[in-house]
């Protein structure tokens, strides 16, 4: 896929600089990591692969001191370490480059890089000259096109990421962990990152590289390790393997979605979106969803898909266009009206938008339909339990009790609670925004089956997803979005992956990349 030559790198023969042995990490109700081994040699890129929820991020958080393992050892440079917090780990030379960026946008590049360790002179004053010099040294290593005194808020996402890397370099690290570093980068920004990683390797730094993208991993890494459902499934030399083997290690079993089980029986239009626009967010979006149909909305992060869903749900005010539900122009003014009219939105961000983490399972489940469990304004405990038990069983939610706070559940179970919450509102239209992001494989396929069953029983379903297999496996029709516009509409059963990729990346770009 990638334009540059896919030279397979030979593994580096050196004693590991970092070893993780038998790491086990439990969270309430779930074993996130079970007896995982992992090591990094100086000067190598060691890729860590696994599906969402396989435990990659947890492993790296253990490594970087954010979580403490229940069992196992971390050995750095021959010494056993016990990192109590990220600061310990950083001082010891292990730095994690975050997925979510943690920069202060109101400060300059230099201040951000040395945040918390600004050079000082007498009377504890900041030594600005030294700060500038040190920063320039780091920026030289990064070869990036910005200055030490640029405000971080004014930089592009890719450049912000460079600042994050610069921050890591300030600690003279021995091991640097990149967690999905290219997720928010454009194609021509990636080589810059690769150069930085390569030059770090040359300086003897060990790199852990987490990514879903096979092309990147085969391009960059020396060795590949795979996690599956919190278990370590093995390490291979990149030069001796291929994508098929890696995929088998990751999935462990066939995960091809059963296309035949898609719904087939469609009714009238349930949702019709006509020329909907929100200024500077998306423009002229039109599509429809019929009763009993699953429509997939596919696109990259930032294409405006969630925003379309939020607008249908009454959370954003459209600047033009109409939302028609069941033959009626609705244009909801707030989410309450949308819920009352039978629209349900399972939001993208479970923790911030979907759940009240401090509340128990039952209370979260009934939150969107409180009137249905109340009489004369008073909730009946029995009815609430009834609702909870119904979805608890139907969706196989694993919780010790309804009293459990949802914050303590795994992602998959949390998501099932959100879905259960919306099913109980008896919606006419169900919108699912990234319904399986960050949840384990088992729950994922359960949710897929559930969505198809719902559509077959007459629900109109709109699924927003960034995962192609999910979109292909679920949708009767696929709407592709790019940069705030609908670029194409496909028949879900007869569409090539190439066509889909072209539609969501904009044609011009695709030509440039290949």
């Amino acid at each position: 896929m990638n334009a540059s030559s896919p030279q397979s790198r030979q593994p580096i023969d050196a004693a590991p600089i970092l070893e993780l042995k038998g790491i086990t990490k439990r969270f309430p109700g779930v074993v996130a990591l079970n007896n995982v081994d992992f090591d990094v040699r100086p000067g190598e890129v060691h890729a860590l692969l696994g599906e969402n929820g396989a435990g990659k991020s947890t492993l790296m958080k253990v490594l970087a001191g954010k979580h403490q393992a229940n069992e196992g050892k971390i050995i750095l440079g021959g010494q056993e370490m016990a990192f109590e917090n990220p600061k310990h780990a950083k001082r010891a030379g292990v730095v994690l480059i975050h997925q979510e960026q943690s920069l202060v946008s109101e400060m300059t590049v230099a201040e951000n890089i040395f945040l918390g360790s600004l050079p000082r002179k007498s009377f504890n004053r900041v030594d600005w000259r030294k700060l500038r010099e040190d920063t320039n040294k780091i920026l030289e290593r990064l070869k990036c096109g910005f200055q030490h005194d640029d405000l971080v808020g004014s930089l592009s996402i890719a450049k912000k990421q460079m600042v994050e890397i610069g921050r890591a370099l300030a600690f003279t690290p021995q091991v640097v962990v990149f967690d999905e570093p290219t997720a928010s980068l454009t194609d021509h920004e990636k080589p810059v990152l690769y150069d930085v990683i390569n030059s770090l390797c040359e300086q003897g730094v060990g790199i852990v590289y987490i990514s879903h993208r096979m092309d990147e991993i085969f391009h960059l890494s020396h060795r590949i390790s795979v996690l599956r459902d919190g278990e370590y499934t093995g390490t291979v030399n990149t030069a001796d393997t291929n994508e098929d083997e890696i995929t088998r290690m990751m999935i462990g079993r066939s995960l091809t979605l059963d296309h035949a089980s898609k719904p087939t029986d469609f009714g009238d239009n349930m949702l019709e979106v006509r020329h909907l626009s929100v200024k500077r967010v998306f423009e002229d979006v039109s599509f429809n969803v019929r009763k009993g149909e699953i429509v997939g909305m596919y696109g990259l992060v930032g294409a405006g898909r969630s925003e379309v869903a939020e607008t249908i749900f009454g959370l954003r005010k459209p600047s033009a266009g109409d939302v028609v539900l069941d033959g009626e122009v609705v244009n909801f003014r707030n989410s309450h009206d949308a819920v009352m009219s039978g629209v349900a939105l399972v939001p993208e961000d479970r923790k911030d938008q979907g759940l009240i983490l401090g509340m128990n399972c039952r209370d979260n489940m009934t939150l969107a339909s409180l009137s249905s469990v109340s009489s004369l304004g008073f909730m009946t405990s029995a009815k609430e339990r009834e609702v909870y038990d119904k979805y608890h069983q139907a969706m196989k939610i694993k919780t010790p009790s309804w009293r459990q706070k949802v914050g303590n559940l795994s992602g998959g179970n949390q998501q099932k609670i959100v879905i259960g919450k919306w099913l109980h509102t008896q919606p006419k239209l169900l919108i699912l925004d990234e319904p399986t992001r960050g949840i384990d494989v088992g729950s994922k396929s359960e949710i897929h089956t559930l969505v198809k069953d719902l559509a077959k029983s007459g629900y109109a379903v709109l699924v927003i997803s960034s995962e192609m297999p999910e979109v292909l496996g679920l949708s009767n029709r696929i709407i592709a979005m790019y940069d705030g516009r609908v670029t194409a509409e496909f028949d879900g059963d007869n569409v090539s992956e190439d066509a889909l990729v072209q539609a969501i990346t904009g044609m011009g770009k695709q030509a440039q990349a290949s």
């Binding site: 038998g22 229940n70 069992e71 109590e84 917090n85 600061k87 918390g116 749900f313 959370l315 707030n334 989410s335 309450h336 949308a338 819920v339 009352m340 939105l345 939001p347 911030d352 938008q353 979907g354 759940l355 009240i356 983490l357 401090g358 509340m359 209370d363 009934t366 939150l367 969107a368 409180l370 009137s371 469990v373 109340s374 304004g377 008073f378 909730m379 919450k421 509102t425």
Partner: protein, 336 residues
């Protein structure tokens, strides 16, 4: 193997016991502290545990308690109400002054209406305009004190004929041997506790305080919820003003000064988190009573009344600290 065995057993146990002690301290620490305090006080003063003294304390605590019940709802909804102190001044001055001018019934009705209006302004600014509740209610605290002085012209007000008015019932009356202020405190606490625990409305307030965004994504009208909590708070202040005006039969311009802090102290002492989304009216009732007993005990031990301010401060810090220590599972933090 031996070493893994060790980590398996020793580490969790050590952590558990420490966390256990902390959570026990945070849940029960105030009560223990309270019991020790009661013991010490009763040692120094024979009066302290007498029935009449206990009744006095509860009676005195009831004004703070009535307000605290309302403010607890605001806090559960994720906001603050600091304006209750001068609202209490305002409402008390109003009802006492109007008593002689337009009769008790009209005075009470008008006072409730105007107090609720102030609550509505708070609620509108915070709920619908989404201004910061701390700033809005702090500004309101100062503005209302100004209104009170304008209204009263700086004069203290009182009721001329104190003997022959049924208005005295609210502050001085007894029903079945229980003082009316205590009764009102109890009834309001029960009523609002029931609303918060057993109605959809209460659940929504918890949701809004716990995670406002998720509440909106669940179709809850967050703005209205926040708005309504300030009406409840104002209603409780009006009830407290009724009791206070009726008990004193007169009022100074600044009679409610400092109440906002005492109310907060009671709530925090009870263990309701200022972060919102959690807490209960019962906790507040207990917190307010503890506060009352401590103040009373200090007075009985012969300390000047202003010592209680300092002691209150110490108690608030302790309560907040223990609450936080419980959340992060240790007393001190190594993070800078």
């Amino acid at each position: 193997m031996a070493s893994t065995e060790q980590t398996k057993v020793v580490v969790p146990l050590g952590k558990l016991s420490k966390a256990g002690v902390l959570s026990f301290l945070s849940a029960q620490g105030i009560l223990i502290f309270f019991l020790i305090g009661m013991f010490v006080f009763s040692f120094f003063s024979e009066q302290f545990l007498s029935q009449s003294n206990i009744m006095t304390v509860v009676r005195q605590a009831s004004i703070i308690g009535i307000i605290a019940v309302g403010v607890t709802v605001v806090i559960i909804g994720g906001n603050l109400d600091l304006s209750v102190g001068s609202m209490l001044s305002f409402s008390t001055v109003l009802v006492v002054d109007l008593h002689d001018k337009i009769g008790p019934t009209n005075a009470i009705l008008l006072m409730f209406a105007l107090t609720l209006m102030i609550g509505a302004v708070n609620g509108f600014l915070i709920g619908f305009l989404r201004l910061n509740s701390l700033i809005v209610t702090l500004a309101m605290l100062s503005a209302i004190q100004g209104f009170v002085l304008i209204y009263s012209g700086g004069q203290n007000v009182d009721i001329a004929n104190q003997e022959n008015t049924w208005f005295a019932f609210f502050g001085r009356g007894f029903v079945g041997g229980i003082a009316v202020p205590v009764l009102m405190f109890g009834l309001l606490a029960i009523l609002i506790q029931v609303v918060m625990s057993y109605t959809g409305y209460g659940r929504r307030i918890f949701a809004v305080g716990g995670n406002p965004m998720a509440a909106v994504y669940s179709g809850i009208r967050k703005n209205w919820c926040v708005f309504s909590t300030y009406l409840i708070s104002a209603f409780c202040v009006a009830c407290a003003a009724l009791v206070l005006g009726s008990r004193v039969m007169g009022s100074q311009n600044n009679v409610g000064q400092g109440y906002e802090l005492l109310v907060l102290a009671g709530i925090i002492l009870g263990g309701t988190s200022l972060l919102g989304g959690a807490g209960s009216i019962w906790k507040t009732v207990i917190g307010v009573l503890i506060l009352g007993f401590i103040q009373n005990g200090l007075l009985l031990m012969g300390y000047p009344y202003y010592i209680q301010w300092i002691v209150t401060w110490v108690i608030i810090i302790l309560a907040v600290w223990l609450d936080l220590a419980n959340k992060r599972k240790r007393l001190f933090t190594s993070h800078s």
